[in-house]
Symmetry: C2
Subunit: 406 residues, 2 copies
């Protein structure tokens, strides 16, 4: 009997939207095999800034440890959790014990796990608009209705956010979760002001919300300003902190963590166990060595210097060639958002940029929770070689001109 698989694809997760960005990235990967492609499409650190030779040496030691090839606890290698607890104190100003820490497969698994335990189908989750497309797609798989709240250069508009919560409440809809990337946000590059952070926590307290703080870009801050994590200002236990070493140490390692109130940590650990057994152990032990030897700070400093230079080059080129176009001016992270003239479609532009000008960019529309991102593109500055930046911006400028009425 021929199988009709439709009947079998009826699991709880019925909403599956393939990531449009992922498809774009595949197309770019194929095209990039040709020489001369300048890519502003990445969402990753520069593999040449990461000391891979040192990793190679450390890996030899890692595999001398018998534990490297066996399971670790699902919550991670104990010593790594201890190091992460100390890291949370040093980098986030958050006191914690190992009981608060669960090591995860990058931030992604942490966010998926949070949804697994906390989102009921049909519930509303508030995010920044735009927000990180993978979290939105993942949480939609769990049945969340994602409502975006507008941002400006100071981050998400927390008054608007409060109004949204109130309005939904009047309609009988209770909001439980807010998802935010307060520092160097993906895709906008925007960093939330301290005032807004405080207000967000007040709103959370007032309306009994939990805040999921995605700190993926927290260690890539380019200006000498104090950026305090929401978690460090959280006196009530309302913030679930999702940490990641990906953007400094490498996304491929897949090492992130959850910092949770102990009550939640116990439940998260129990739920996580059978889903994965444990995070990859060689990666965990490698990161452990990096932290123990104080290499994180060194690698981070190198990354900050390199990406600050690249950011400056990109901003300068944008200001020189596209001075009339609205764009963000990130003090952290890896991205600049660029608003093309409104008659230009970001998707078509991205495809033409790749085909005709060999420049890869990401259309930002999928990051927006409404239709306001149609003419917006996302530019990454961390992975592209310095020397390509001005040339890439020039080519994009040329394409904009071509597509504009003379």
């Amino acid at each position: 009997m021929k199988v009709d698989y439709t009947r079998f694809l009826s699991g709880r997760v019925s909403y599956i939207e393939p990531s449009p960005i992922r498809e774009m990235v595949s197309k770019i990967a194929r095209k990039s095999r040709e020489a001369g492609v300048i890519s502003f499409a990445a969402g990753e650190p520069d593999p040449d800034v990461i000391p891979r030779r040192v990793y190679g040496e450390l890996a030899r030691e890692v595999f001398e440890d018998k534990r490297s090839v066996n399971y670790s606890p699902t919550e991670g290698v104990l010593e790594l959790r201890e190091e992460i607890a100390a890291f949370m104190k040093k980098y986030e100003g958050v006191s914690s014990t190992v009981e608060n820490i669960i090591v995860t497969l990058g931030g992604s698994q942490a966010l998926d796990l949070a949804a697994r335990l906390m989102i009921n189908p049909g519930e509303v989750v508030l995010t920044e608009n735009p927000s990180y497309v993978n979290t939105v797609l993942d949480w939609k798989q769990w049945g969340a209705i994602v409502v975006g709240v507008k941002m400006d250069e100071n981050g998400v508009d927390t008054h608007e956010l409060e109004n949204t919560v109130k309005k939904l409440k009047r309609d009988g809809i209770v909001v439980k979760l807010v998802y935010t990337i307060p520092t160097g946000q993906n895709p906008s590059g925007i960093t939330m002001s301290t005032e807004r952070r405080k207000h967000l926590l007040e709103v959370a307290s007032e309306h009994d919300l939990l805040v999921v703080e995605d700190g993926a870009y927290n260690y890539l801050v380019y200006e000498p300003v104090e950026v305090r994590s929401l978690k460090s200002m959280d006196s009530e236990g309302r913030v679930i902190f999702v940490g990641s070493f990906s953007k400094v140490l490498g996304t491929g390692l897949r090492v992130g963590w959850l910092h949770l109130p102990e009550e939640l940590a116990e439940k998260f650990r129990a739920a996580k166990g059978p889903t994965d057994m444990c995070p990859p152990v060689p990666s965990q032990l490698l990161v452990l060595q990096v932290l123990r030897r104080g290499l994180f700070e060194e690698i981070r400093n190198r990354a900050v210097e390199a990406y600050r230079r690249k950011r400056d080059l990109m901003l300068r080129a944008i200001e020189e060639y596209m001075s009339r176009l609205k764009h963000t001016k990130p003090i952290a992270g890896m991205f600049i958002l660029l608003w093309l003239p409104s008659h230009i479609d970001g998707w078509k532009f991205s495809e033409e940029a790749l085909e005709k000008y060999s420049v890869a960019v990401i259309p930002a529309a999928p990051f927006f929770t409404d239709n306001s991102g149609k003419s917006v593109i996302r530019l990454n500055f961390s992975m592209v070689p310095e020397n390509d930046i001005e040339e890439g911006i020039k080519r994009l400028t040329q394409l904009i001109k071509e597509k504009s009425p003379s």
Copy 2:
């Protein structure tokens, strides 16, 4: 305002049972720091059989590759998928293309993903009784009602399985999935006969079921018998094959795969993307090197020889000291199930064995889907040093005597 987290823990996944085995394993880990503990509790290969020094050398090369620190596609590094497709031909007699292969975080993520897409709350899934506790716990998180079907030395009783399907059908309950570990099953060590395998596929065809075949132990077969995977006999596309390198190359690496009909693969890939971004890349590239250099076969042969010897020692000791006790005689895998005299509780026995005799075993009760496993314990022979085996069995024999009426 003090947070009441109860309100927030209302996600789709409401059934969360911490793994009792995991807690036992933690207790054993603490106790094992004391000298002299003999552990039959593992579910893993011996880290000294795995060539960790070679891994260390390969890892240096892995980190020379820029890709090692960046994301791979969610379905895995292309070259690794090509190697796995060739591996499926060589080791499983299954022709496939890369389109059938999705690399996963060990078998665990593969099984969780299958449930994510295919299990609707309240649906019945058939498993062997006993079955692998982590899959059962995971699938219960997804709302499955797990119904076990009795096993004998030839594997699951497929006639009983067919009757169960029919009986449920009469009650208006449709079964969609069967979960099986046909070779060297965990916890029983039993390998399903070829006849039963054929019959299981006939039943699947007759009643329109999909079979999830967990091949975790497929590469640890100790007798010169032909053991054919269900997938290799599957002419209708009814088998989802879950593969894993864990039991030969190391569980800590977390590299497994799904072999899926293309129609399903596309959906699984789309669903997986936002949940993890990708499997750990250094682990993927390490396994790629191992496969490319033909090292898998070498490591596997070494493992088979070592574990065969250990199995023989354990079986001999059991037959010498506990000849009246029922136990399985595995031709594959890592486990022997041992039925204690029925007045002995497996949980209490396991605790006393650890406390009083410094021998770690796993109570098998949590693996059983009914109450028939109360006096059963699981013994692992792959990880324990050869010299400890007889002594461990002697100590267990002593404890059984102590607990038995004289």
